[in-house]
């Protein structure tokens, strides 16, 4: 048996132990976070936060951004106004409606503790919740799930939408994963025999069990594929997400990946490549709200990326890897309608290393606030969920309670 399998089994053992301990010590939290749903949208490739949440009121903004600049609110294709400084990208109409309805909080000049510019290390830190890249094989969201009081025993509390489980969701807590299928289902007899064949293979046995649970819950797995590259690209996965979260016995936390945000060339301003991506994301979130129905009021959606992009347009109508970026917190459970930002400005001297938006908010403050206030995570568990982050206090009053 190789080391990976042994480690996995060890982690399972650790979960049981931790879960047992929690059951006895955390009775006072029973019920807290029980109905709350959390959806995390990972935006891989480094989203241009200055395009998502343009600081149209900043005196240096239009000059620096050149062809990428979004016009002021009111102009043709102008930013969707949030306040006197910030707007939303014009393709984010649903998010703008949500802001007006008090269901969206916008964060600007945010960063993880990672300060270099590698996508892969940046995503690792974003997902692991650990300061050093590749220092952890488990993700912060999974550790948070593992530290929560057990609600329905046996049911996985988390689901990854996609064939494989992103690092953020890997770890001691069992999670499901789900992806659309076009292949025919196996007949029950063959499936039973495969299950027997996996009886002595802990990893495959566990995965098979998870898959069967997830399939039963998603329900519409046999529907034809939708989406592709168009504005409905996330349609099917969003419908499945809603199916999972609206199910009373289903998972409470869902994660899904989006890609294509690495806009080095021809990024476009109000319209163009990035605008098309934003429009698809906006449409997906609108669908999520519709599909969740009354569950929306218990739901929070976090849209996160590994870092931002250069403040100035580059030589090819795009932007290169940067630092500070934007993050979004959306949902019926959110006490929104505000922009949370200590704006550093875009003058040459205020940029990070004279090229990137300087971060003034540690992303972990937002994540901690969400886990504690929305998901009922005991504050004492924050040290294991985000190690070495003692100085980062959870943001408060992010949610209607």
């Amino acid at each position: 048996m190789d080391t990976t399998l042994q480690r996995r089994r060890f982690l399972q053992g650790a979960t049981l132990a931790a879960g047992g301990a929690l059951l006895t010590t955390r009775l006072s939290f029973a019920g807290s976070g029980g109905d709350s749903r959390l959806v995390v949208v990972i935006m891989r490739g480094a989203v241009d936060g200055l395009a998502a949440v343009p600081p149209w009121g900043d005196p240096d903004y239009a000059r620096l951004r050149g062809s990428l600049a979004i016009a002021a609110p009111g102009a043709t294709d102008g930013a969707l106004r949030l306040d006197d400084l910030f707007g939303l990208h014009p393709q984010l109409a649903f998010l703008h409606e949500s802001f007006a309805a008090g269901e969206l909080t916008v964060f600007q000049a945010v960063a993880t503790p990672y300060r270099d510019r590698s996508h892969f290390d940046g995503q690792d830190v974003l997902e692991s919740g650990v300061v050093v890249p590749h220092a952890s094989q488990t993700g912060w969201l999974n550790r948070a799930l593992a530290a929560q009081p057990r609600a329905a025993r046996g049911a996985e509390r988390g689901v990854a939408l996609g064939s494989n489980v992103p690092l953020m969701m890997r770890g001691p807590a069992e999670v499901a994963s789900w992806a659309p299928t076009k292949l025919a289902e196996l007949d029950p007899d063959t499936l039973q025999r495969i299950a027997e064949l996996y009886a002595h293979d802990p990893m495959l046995g566990q995965r098979l069990g998870e898959a069967q649970t997830a399939n039963a819950m998603a329900g519409d797995g046999s529907q034809p594929m939708m989406g592709g590259a168009g504005p409905n690209r996330y349609e099917e996965v969003i419908r499945a997400t809603a199916g999972f979260l609206a199910n009373e016995a289903g998972p409470r936390v869902a994660v899904f990946d989006t890609t294509g945000w690495d806009t080095h060339a021809n990024e476009g301003g109000a319209r163009g490549q990035l605008g098309t991506r934003f429009a698809a994301l906006d449409a997906a979130l609108r669908t999520l709200k519709t599909q969740l129905g009354s569950t929306w009021r218990d739901t929070a959606v976090l849209a996160l990326t590994e870092f931002g992009r250069t403040a100035a347009v580059n030589g090819t109508g795009g932007s290169d890897h940067g630092t500070g970026t934007a993050a979004l917190l959306l949902g019926g459970a959110v006490r929104g309608g505000k922009v949370i930002c200590d704006w550093p400005g875009l003058s040459a001297g205020s940029l990070y290393q004279r090229r990137d938006l300087a971060p003034t908010l540690d992303l972990r403050a937002l994540l901690k606030g969400t886990l504690v206030e929305h998901m009922g995570l005991p504050a004492a568990a924050l040290d294991t969920v985000f190690p070495d982050s003692g100085g980062v206090k959870p943001l408060r009053d992010l949610f209607r309670v």
Binding site: D2, L183, A184, R193, L204, R207, G315, D320
Partner: protein, 457 residues
């Protein structure tokens, strides 16, 4: 070391999955069988449906030069040219992988293709991903690392994928003209320079800084693609690598503490040659090879040994492959690697000698299993650890496909006789028993493909 398992490891881990009879043929000397595959020039893929990168890039250029009204039409037209090219390339690649008698060399080729990944997630890559592998990777896998690196970084597909073809030196002749005539500021795009350092050579902890990335990006301004006509966009051989002097940043640059005063294209080649022989590069490549051929978390001593061979041999790739074959830890832990979908499909094709009449049926197989060919979602390529591939949903897709194959070809297959030829000494009692009790020949094939031993290599 359990030598009874050596033939299974040679064919399944180093190779692409045993074909019936292959394990018996290599049993006398599994290591010698692998080494023999390094002799002679790498195979060339011949197929009437394949086109060169230059042909495809010229087709793209022809569409680009039309007026803006024709843009929508051009996009459709591009798909009409690019999609069949992609389908033909994917089919030809599988045909070779399924039949080759040098499966170790083919695994190495695919390893490098993924190390220097480009992705059809970017529309223009769809038409050139296969030709890139045939032109830049395949001919160079038995040379030196530097030779492979240079071939990759000046290949038009890479220059398109990571945007370098239009990265403009801020003090270049063209940037000056544009500034005077139109007031437009042209500049660099550092995408390729960063990924060369981070992914292709030194590795993310290789000791470079942001200033090194920026300086290197300036060094390789002008590494571009030839096009018809004159002026800033024309010149060179259409669709081929072209050093466009008018956009090259003039002057001396310092990269990783070393001054590069060369003129023109030589400057970039000098930096690449230095990167190729940097100790951090040796270590980075050794780590990835060990992860691919030994285990997700390979022993540090194995990495050090391989990095040492890489450095001492000046990046001589066959010497590195021979050191890998000689690495004991690669032979001591059978089944430590969970197959990627790509591994899984190819090994099934080899195991069952599946037919491949219509190439159009091939791309959806890889896509359904979660690894559409040449489509990693970043220039880092596909990940290479179990946890990246062993999700529950991915497993179900594999099983559904295995069942489809079982139902399609199983009636003519004796899985009980086939299993030892595919799995050798790694075949376990549970699987043997399940095959013996299967309800039908078709179900037995499904179970063989579903078995824990066949899921791994």
């Amino acid at each position: 070391m359990r030598d009874s398992q050596a033939p299974a490891i040679a064919t399944n881990r180093f190779g692409l999955g045993a074909r019936p009879g292959e394990m018996a043929a290599c049993a006398a000397d599994p290591r010698g069988w692998l080494e023999a595959q390094l002799q002679g020039t790498p195979p060339v893929i011949e197929d009437p449906g394949l086109r060169s990168t230059a042909t495809m890039v010229v087709a793209l250029d022809a569409l680009r030069s039309r007026n803006s009204k024709a843009v929508a039409e051009a996009v459709v037209k591009l798909g009409e040219i690019y999609r069949p090219a992609y389908v033909a390339e994917v089919g030809a690649r599988l045909r070779l992988a399924a039949a080759t008698e040098r499966p170790f060399l083919e695994r190495i080729t695919q390893f490098w293709s993924n190390h220097f990944a480009i992705s059809v997630d970017k529309a223009v890559v769809l038409g050139v991903a296969g030709s890139y592998e045939r032109e830049a990777i395949r001919p160079n896998v038995l040379g030196s690392f530097a030779q492979l690196l240079l071939a990759v970084e000046r290949h038009p597909a890479m220059l398109l994928y990571l945007d370098n073809f239009r990265s403009v030196g801020p003090d270049s002749a063209l940037a000056g003209q544009a500034q005077r005539r139109t007031g437009k500021t042209l500049g660099i795009n550092e995408n390729l320079a960063r990924e060369i350092m981070e992914l292709h050579t030194l590795g993310v902890d290789g000791g470079y800084t942001q200033a090194d990335v920026t300086a290197f990006a300036k060094v390789i301004t002008g590494w571009s693609i030839g096009a018809r006509g004159f002026g800033p966009r024309g010149g060179g051989e259409p669709g081929e690598f072209f050093f466009r002097a008018s956009i090259h940043e003039p002057g001396v640059e310092t990269v990783m503490g070393r001054r590069y005063a060369q003129e023109g294209r030589d400057q970039g080649e000098s930096v690449l040659l230095d990167l190729a022989r940097h100790p951090a590069t040796a270590r980075h490549i050794a780590t990835q090879l060990c992860r691919h051929f030994i285990a997700d978390d390979p022993p540090p001593e194995a990495i050090s040994r391989l990095a040492g061979v890489f450095e001492r041999s000046g990046g001589d790739l066959p010497a590195v492959y021979r050191a890998l074959i000689a690495e004991e830890s690669a032979w001591s832990r059978p089944l430590s690697k969970f197959k990627t979908p790509n591994d899984y499909v190819i090994s099934a094709w080899r195991a069952l000698d599946l037919p491949l009449a219509d190439a159009r049926s091939v791309p959806p197989v890889f896509a359904n299993l979660g690894q559409r060919v040449w489509s990693p979602n970043s220039p880092a390529g596909w990940p290479d650890r179990s946890a990246d591939w062993d999700g529950a949903s991915a497993l179900m897709q594999r099983l559904r496909w295995a069942d489809q194959i079982g139902q399609r070809v199983g009636a003519g297959v004796n899985a009980q006789e086939l299993a030892p030829q595919l799995l050798g000494a790694t075949l376990g009692a549970d699987t043997r028993q399940a095959l013996g009790r299967a309800a039908s020949a078709a179900q037995a094939v499904t179970l063989l493909l579903a078995s824990p031993e066949f899921m791994r290599r």
